[in-house]
Amino acid sequence: MKGSSLTLHPEEEQLLRYLDGELPVQASGEVRSHLEACWQCRAALEELQNVVSQCVHYRKNVLQRHLPTPPAPWVDIYRKFDEIDTSVEPVLFDRFLRLLKSPFDTAIKKWAVAAAALLLFVGLFYRYRQTPSVHASELLRQAVVAANAHPLQPRRIQIRTRDRRLTRPAVAPQKTGFSAPDDAASNSLQAMFERANYSWTDPLSAQSFQAWRNQLSDKRDQVSEENQAYRIETSTNASELRNATLTLRTADLRPMEERLEFSNQEWVEITEVSDDTTPPVSRSAAENKRPAAGNAMPPVPEGSNPVSVLAPSASAADELQVVAALHDVGADLGDPVEVSRSQSDVLVSGVGIAPARQQEIKNAIGSKPHVVVRFSDSPPPARAQEQPVTPSDTTAGGDVRQLQSRLAEQLGGRANLEQLAAQVLDSSESLMARAYALRRLAEQFPVVAERELSATDRQLLQRLRAEHSAALRQQATEIDRDLQPILTSVNGDAGSLPPNGIPSEPWQAATEDLFQSARRLDKLLGVMFGAAPSEIPAGQIPAQLKISLAQLRARSDIYERSNK
C-alpha cells in the first residue's frame, strides 16, 4: 500500500479512489483491511464522504434548482427519430407492410407480395448501389470546389503502410518526387500509386480521389456520415487499387484521412500530421501549388528536405524533445497538458487551455516529427481568482486551533498568520508542481527508456531533472526560511532527521522518495494551517514539520548531487 513512510496510512487519493470503487481489487482489499484497524483513516474516510455528500447536495439544491431551465419545451423525440428513420429507410417498407395486412385474397396477395418484394429489391439496389454513387460523385465534386475556393497553408501528411511510415508535405513537388537513390522503399510506394493511376503527388485530396474514381469502368460506392465526417468508400476490380476510402470533414469537406487497399494486399493509410484547427492564414499565390483545403501545420523550413523523410516510430528521444519544449515554456508545471507516446506518435493533449497559451505551446513544440497536438478549441471560462488560503478555525480540531492561536500570538496577530499561511502554501504549491514534474519524468523515462537515449539526450534529461530539483530545493529553502521563526519558538526541540544514507538506486526511484517527502511536507503544512485534517496530535506538528523539511532538503541535496 502506498502511504507515508511514517504512518503507512493510505493517502487521501487512495481513500477517494476506494470510496469511488476505482481501486484495483487487491489494493481495495488492503485499504479495507487497514480501515478496519484504523480509526484515524475511518475518520478521514468519513470526512471525504461528507464532502461527497455535500457535493451531491449541491447538485440537487443548487445546480438542479437554480440553473436556468431549458427555454423551450423539449422536442418530441419520437418525431425526430422518425425523421431520421424516414431519411434512412425507404418509405416502401411501410406501404409494403400495409399491403400485407390488406384484405386481398390469397392469389392477389401473392402477386402483391412478389411485386412489393421486387420493388423492395429494386429500392435496396437503388439505395445501396446507385444512390451512393450519386452521393459520392456529388460529394467529391463539392469537395473539389471547396478545396479550390479556399486556398490554405501547406500541410503535412503521414503515410503509413504495413511496415513503414513517412511524413511529407501533402503536395510533393513533381520534379523531385521520391527520387532519392537510397529511398527504394518510397520509390516502390510511388510506383504502386502510379500503376494504380492514383496521384502520388497529392494523394490526400478530393481531386485525386475523384480523378481515380472517374476513370474506373466498374465501381461500387458507399457513403456514410459519422463523427462529423463523410466517408466515401469506392471498390473496384478495374484498378490495382481495389478499395479506397476518403474521409471528408462535414463542415468544410476537407479531406482528413484516406485508406487505400491494393490488389497485392498492401494497404496505405494517409492522414494529416496534426489536427491543428487554427484558422488558416493567407499565403502567396506562388506558395499555392494546389489550392486545397489544408490545415495550419507550419511550412517546411527552408533548406530542409522538401519532399519526405522516412521516419521510424516515435521514440523515447522524440518524447524527450517534446517534454523539453514544454519545459522551456513552463508547460510542465501545472498546465493541464499531457504527453503520451504510442507506437507511432507522441501525443500532446490538453483541454481548457487558453488559445494564446495553446499557441505558445504549439510554437514551442514546432514541427517536431511524430508529434500530434490535440487541444480543445474552447476558450476556458474566466476562472475565479484564487483566494488566499487562510488558517481556518473550523477545519482544524481543537488542538490545531490552539496551535494556530499560539502561532498568531507569536506573529503579532491573526492577520500575520494568514499572510504567512498564504505565502507558505503558495510556495508549497510551487514545490509540489516541481515534484509532480519530476515524478512525471521518472514515469516517462524509466530505466529501460533512458537506455534508448543517446548521450546528448541523456544530458538533456539530466538538465530537466536538475532544473526541477534545483527549483524544488529553492522552494523548500524559502518555506524553511519563512517558517523558522515560528518553528523555533513553538517547538525548539525538533532536530533534523536526515534520510538514511545516500540511495544507490536509480534516479527514478530516488525521484519517488523525493516526491513522497515533498508530499509529506505539503500535507503537514496543510494540517498546520487548517487546510487538511490532522492525523497526528497538534503538539507534534511543528516537530514533524521541521523533520519533514530537513528530510526534504537532505533528499533534494542528494538528488541534486546525483544529477551531476
Partner: protein, 183 residues
Amino acid sequence: MSSYPLGEELAGVVQKRRAAMTLQDQVAQLFEEARDDVFRYLLSLGLYPPQAQEATQEVFLRLYTTLKKGEEIENPRGWIFRVAHNLGLKIRARQSSQAPFDPDLESRLAGPAMNPEQNLIEREQTLRFHKAVERLSEQQRRCLLLRLEGLRYPEIGSVLGISSSAVGEFLRRAISRLKKDEL
C-alpha cells in the same frame, strides 16, 4: 438476398422494424432521464440556454443514429457526455467572440426570495460551498461535475481527454479544496 424464401425475408423486415421501435423507446427513455443533466453540463461549458438545449437534443439524436447503425455503445451515459462535451466545445469555439454564459448563481443563492425554505445559516452554507466550487480550477470542476453525473474515472478521462489517474488527482484536489474551503 434472393436465396432466402420470401417469407423469411419479410419476417426479417418486420423484425427490423420492431427492433427499431425498441431502440427508439430505449433512447427516448434515456433522453427523458438524462436530458436535464446534459443541458446543465452544457451550461457549465459556457453555452447559452437555447444553444445548450439544441445541443442536448442533437446529442441524443446522434446516439440514436449511432445505435441504429449497429454500433455498440458500452456505456451510453458516458458516451452522451463525451459527445456533449465535444459538441459544446465546438459551439463555444464558433462563438468565441461572445462571452461564455454565466448563470450568476451567486446572486441567485444570496437572495432570500430564491430560497424561502432555507434559513439564513443554510443559505450562507450553500453560498459558501458554491463559492468554493467556483474557486476550483477548470479541470477540477469539470471532473467533479462529471463525477456527480455518475461517470467513472476512465469515462471522465475519455470526456476530457486525460488519463484516469489524472482524473483521480484532479478529484482529490477538488475534494481537498472543498473540504478546506467549506469546513
